[in-house]
Amino acid sequence: MDKLLEVKGLKKYFPIKGGFFNTTVAYLKAVDDVSFYINKGEVLGVVGESGCGKSTTGRAILRLHEPNAGEVIFEGVDICKLKGEAMRKKRRDMQLIFQDPYSSLNPRKTVGDIVEEPILVHENIGRSERTERVKELLQLVGLSPYHIRRYPHEFSGGQRQRIGIARALACNPKFIVCDEAVSALDVSIQAQIINLFEELQEKLNLTYMFISHDLSVVRHISDRIFVMYLGKVVEMAQSEELFKSPIHPYTQALLSAIPIPNPRKKSTRIMLEGDVPSPVNTPEGCVFRSRCRYCMDICKKEIPQFKNIGNEHYVACHLVDK
């Protein structure tokens, strides 16, 4: 399959200011040396606990956060090197859907204005054509053309998320980053939106990067999944393979913690001790070693390599070498 997007050694450090002259005293390593790829027409799921850098990764590849280092190759072009107009043109192909449908829509604009704006910016077409296009988009996401004159507050959470999706689709993008796009919704509405994502993918031949902390949702929608912990990718594999035979101790613990909606199945949990360490002073060596059951001497010294163990299954753990 063709790779639509390839990310190599992506880094995003946020400076922490302090001291008398407000100098940079430390760096928060939100994304630290992350590499992965997404094939055309594929859904790549990104999972991890809060603060692990999944959202920052999603934003850094769209250059909403300027990456500190690394390459983001989209359709053969390193977009980190693009400037001005060239980058602006590229943004048409890459869109983002946000988590909170309540704060991501401007309350003073009508739905028509919100969905029309990207078309206004990127495409040179007349007003009546634009309105036609907006109406088409609203129908595509399951709303009605007469909603065009309404304001966001008149809609429920699920409907607002549909507006956000219509806006993302306005310029016929190739790639969409869904950042916790269904997390704020109720279960029954969540199922509607997940179905909509899948329908749209088939219809418009989209590629998604689906970021979520809800593992059962990610499992349902993704072809491949990568697991992040403290700014690093610890494991990446085909969706089913990852759930059936997770290799990294963190993935194992994470998967065993999902509550199963079946009262007769009592899950055997692998309990993780303590909390995620602060991303400002990460442990030396393997980032997970402070909570790992199998921590060895080597884990304290060397950072494990992220390697392919066959069948496109990548793991970063010293246990694999043994």
Binding site: E49, S50, Q159, I189, Q192, P261, K266
Partner: protein
């Protein structure tokens, strides 16, 4: 087993400028001593209002618990108690864990002081005794170095630790009933697993009943003995956890269970419930679920269904059942 808490025909209405919102409209259920009752439903179905009504924490105005409602806790009629008597119950016999561990602790008091507060008020302990008990409670909920943490302020604790501290406060006076309102929603899965295990363990230790309010059906399956399902201010189904998950009766419960993605759902369309929750100012006539129901019949639009008893501790509120002969 005896009933610790019994709620009969609870109606909590809010009188707003736009009209009357019947947030909880004729809810009846009970919690037995030592059991965990799950209260499931989507946002706006009245789960949290039911819980706050039990503690009489509904802001009045605009909220009002209607006259015909009855809440009996441990033989006492909660709605007839004076405010002074009520204060003796809150935090002492019934305590509550809130959803947001970030906002439900006071940022300017030390953790130890916040646990001590309840102990000094309800158990008449001296400051020193209360502080020692607080440290002990923190140890019980699995906080490392409890002596040191008791002397810290909430901002230096992580989300999971704060929720543990909240549980320590809630359990400090050995309550008979613990109301947990979405206790793990704001937490990550690995921390959620820790907290759920902790609650199960502590429930057996202090022999309290738990009313677990949640929208996460996985959490319900793992922790609860009995479940009530709420929709738009009403209880639509009640039963033990096995029958709810294995033999759900109400179309809403069935829809809810089918809409969770599982290991078998990949590549298939999820069964979603069409539409969204009705506007509480403008509830549909008849059964409140009919506009979204895939089995709606003409009668559903006309009349509200009665609560039909299907068996011991098993009820459903739907016209599909109870009619002799033609029930499926």
């Amino acid at each position: 087993m005896e009933k610790l808490l019994e709620i009969k025909d609870l109606k909590t209405y809010f009188y707003t400028e736009d009209g009357v919102v019947p947030a909880v409209d004729g809810v009846s259920f009970y919690v037995k001593a030592g059991e965990t009752l799950g209260v499931v439903g989507e946002s706006g179905c009245g789960k949290s209002v039911t819980a706050t009504s039990v503690l009489r924490l509904i802001p009045n105005p605009p909220g009002k618990i209607m006259k015909e409602s009855q809440i009996t806790f441990d033989g006492k009629d909660i709605l007839k108690l004076t405010e002074k008597e009520m204060r003796k119950i809150r935090g002492n016999e019934i305590s509550m864990i809130f959803q947001e561990p970030m906002t439900s602790l006071n940022p300017v008091y030390k953790i130890g002081d916040q646990i001590s507060e309840a102990l000094i008020l309800h158990q008449r302990m001296s400051k020193k005794e209360a502080w020692e008990k607080s440290v002990e409670m923190l140890r019980l909920v699995g906080i490392p170095m409890p002596e040191k943490i008791a002397d810290e302020y909430p901002h230096s604790l992580s989300g999971g630790m704060r929720q543990r501290a909240m549980i320590a406060i809630a359990l400090s006076c050995n309550p008979k009933l613990l109301i947990a309102d979405e206790p793990t929603t704001a937490l990550d899965v690995t921390v959620q697993a820790q907290i759920l295990d902790l609650m199960n363990e502590l429930k057996n230790k202090v022999n309290a009943s738990i009313m677990m309010i949640t929208h996460n059906l996985g959490v319900v399956a793992e922790t609860c003995d009995r479940v009530i399902v709420m929709y738009a201010g009403k209880v639509v189904e009640e039963g033990d956890v096995y029958s709810i998950f294995e033999d759900p009766k109400h179309p809403y419960t069935i829809g809810l269970l089918n809409s969770i993605p599982s290991e078998y759902s990949r590549g298939k369309k999820l069964d979603s419930i069409k539409g969204s929750v009705p506007n509480p100012l403008n509830m549909p006539k008849g059964c409140r679920f009919w506009p979204r129901c895939n089995k709606a019949m003409p009668i559903c639009r006309e009349k509200e269904p009665d609560i039909i008893k299907l068996g011991e501790e098993r009820t459903v509120s739907c016209f599909l059942y109870g009619m002799e002969g033609d029930a499926k």
